[in-house]
Amino acid sequence: MLDVSRVQKELVEVAGDKVSGVSIQLLGNSLSHLQGTIDGPSGTPYEGGVFTIDIQLPSSYPFEPPKMRFITKVWHPNISSQNGAICLDILKDQWSPALTLKTALLSLQALLSTPEPKDPQDAVVAEQYLKHNNTFIATARYWTEAFAKRSSIGLHEKIQKIVEMGFSEEAARAALQSSGGDENAALEKLCVG
């Protein structure tokens, strides 16, 4: 049985903290499925991005680690670019019941700051990180811009919709950027333009 009181206190604790750049939202009525967000740490390619993390709490939480996965696409050696799986020891064997959702999310923030390519989750990204670091940084920044910007939350889906209507992806992206993310305004612009 999930320790409801502890999870509730954790949520209250996270909600009361506005400065650390982490937050947790409830998904429905169940406390076992949550959604966390972390701000991309400054000084990294992830700066300015807001990364959404899916959190599944096992019934034995906090004695078992929470299951976390990036929903937002991230270019990072330790995060799967395909499914957002995270390779972090504290979410696996180094979990401690003394850790909380907040500390776990903060650890993910730290992970974004300091990738660990020797213990990669995504081998392609890790290789790029080690061999072509500049390319890695550019790609990571692009992914952040493309998927993790607050204004561009859902941008990918919008672009896909516009592309399905017969416009090119680049034109769709430019139109959306100029219209400030408004899908209809971008469409009008594309149609008029």
Partner: protein, 406 residues
């Protein structure tokens, strides 16, 4: 009211006969009473409180009956009815009690007079000691003296008070009788019992003399005797106060006769030497009262803590070595920060057992439930991820090795 006053006068006329008639009886009965009260030790402390309480209730009923008898006697039937009554009362105990009542009533009336005049509690303590009772008893209730007492009494006191005083006089015997009867139930034996006997005898005299007003209020409320424990406590306190000024019992005893004086003075000596240790433990007189009342051990920061007591904190203040046994087991008490109020794992409040539970040398505290839950799983400390089992094992091995104390 006037009728009552005249009744009082009747009593004064009536009473002088009594010492003449019952002179020998009175004198002999009083010492025997006191002797009984002093020589027969009570039960071992207040162990059988319940039994005593029940006995006290029964006695209270008896007291009430007798008080009514006494009041009826006084109220107008006069001498004839009294003699009738005395013949009517078959047991010797009743006769003795009546004498006691008669003996006590003028004394009590006198006390109450002084109380009513002066009002303060001190005045209630002292005048009976120095003046009236001793004098009265010393002269063996000579007619004139006795008459004087009651005469002045009836002049001094308002009519309204008279009835009240009769009431009081009657009931002021209650404690004495209680104690006497209690004692007669009890069996003599060890020195410890003698202890309590001494306390009780002292408290009895003081009670019947000085606490008349208190008893009058208690007699108004018949259920007051239910609270016998508090009365007994009050008696104990009174006894310790008596210990400070033991002149009253001495006066009292001197005034009676030689044998009584011998007996009671020896018992007072016993009182003194017995009450002293007791007063040490119930220290109304010495400075350690607060500590004894609190009923707790000395704290290192107590101002009045005796120098002879060991300083535990000092004993354990030798250098702590990281990871050593002392660091793990004793450092938790003196070195570590205070425990959190809630378990960091389950966020439930930590009770005292949990608060004193430090399973790991890192000082991470958690409740016993969570600790148990972790032991079922991987058994690692949430604070440092070290295994609890290896920790315990290392503790054990260190405990076996003898470490010289620095």
């Amino acid at each position: 009211m006037c009728q009552i006053d005249s009744q009082m006068e009747q009593q004064t006329v009536l009473n002088p006969e009594k010492p003449v008639r019952g002179d020998v009886g009175f004198i002999s009965s009083l010492p025997s009473k006191v002797e009984k009260s002093l020589a027969v030790p009570p039960t071992s402390e207040n162990g059988k409180k319940k039994r005593v309480q029940r006995a006290a209730k029964l006695k209270q009923c008896k007291m009430d009956a007798r008080r009514e008898q006494w009041l009826a006697q006084v109220s107008g039937k006069g001498r004839k009815s009294e003699s009738c009554d005395s013949s009517h009362s078959s047991s010797q105990d009743d006769g003795e009690e009546k004498e006691l009542l008669l003996q006590a009533s003028p004394r009590e009336l006198d006390i109450i007079t002084s109380v009513n005049k002066e009002g303060s509690e001190d005045s209630r303590h002292k005048p009976p000691v120095e003046s009236s009772p001793s004098k009265a008893m010393g002269q063996e209730w000579s007619d004139g003296q006795f008459h004087n007492h009651l005469g002045s009494f009836s002049q001094d006191i308002k009519h309204s008070l008279c009835q009240h005083h009769e009431h009081e006089a009657a009931c002021s015997n209650e404690p004495a009788k209680h104690s006497v009867e209690r004692r007669s139930e009890q069996k003599p034996s060890t020195i410890q019992r003698y202890d309590t006997q001494g306390t009780w005898s002292a408290s009895d005299t003081s009670f019947s003399q000085s606490n008349s007003s208190q008893m009058s209020s208690s007699s108004e409320d018949e259920n007051e005797v239910d609270d016998w424990e508090t009365v007994a406590d009050a008696l104990h306190v009174q006894a310790t106060v008596e210990d400070m000024k033991p002149t009253k019992p001495i006066d009292h005893c001197l005034s009676s006769d030689g044998t009584l004086h011998l007996k009671s003075s020896s018992s007072i000596d016993a009182d003194k030497c017995i009450l002293k240790p007791e007063s040490k433990y119930r220290p109304g007189n010495c400075g350690s009262r607060t500590r004894a009342d609190a009923g707790r051990a000395w704290r290192p920061d107590d101002l009045s803590r005796p120098e002879t007591l060991p300083r535990l904190s000092k004993q354990h203040s030798f250098p702590l070595q990281s990871g050593s046994l002392w660091a793990t087991s004793h450092g938790t008490i003196w070195g570590l920060p205070p425990p959190p109020s809630h378990c960091p794992i389950c966020t439930e409040e930590l009770d005292t057992t949990d608060s004193s539970f430090v399973p790991c040398s890192c000082g991470f505290r958690l409740c016993l439930f969570c600790h148990h839950r972790i032991l079922i799983g991987d058994g690692r400390c949430p604070g440092c991820r070290k295994s609890y089992n290896t920790e315990a094992a290392s503790k054990l091995s260190r405990a076996c090795s003898v470490r010289p104390r620095v």
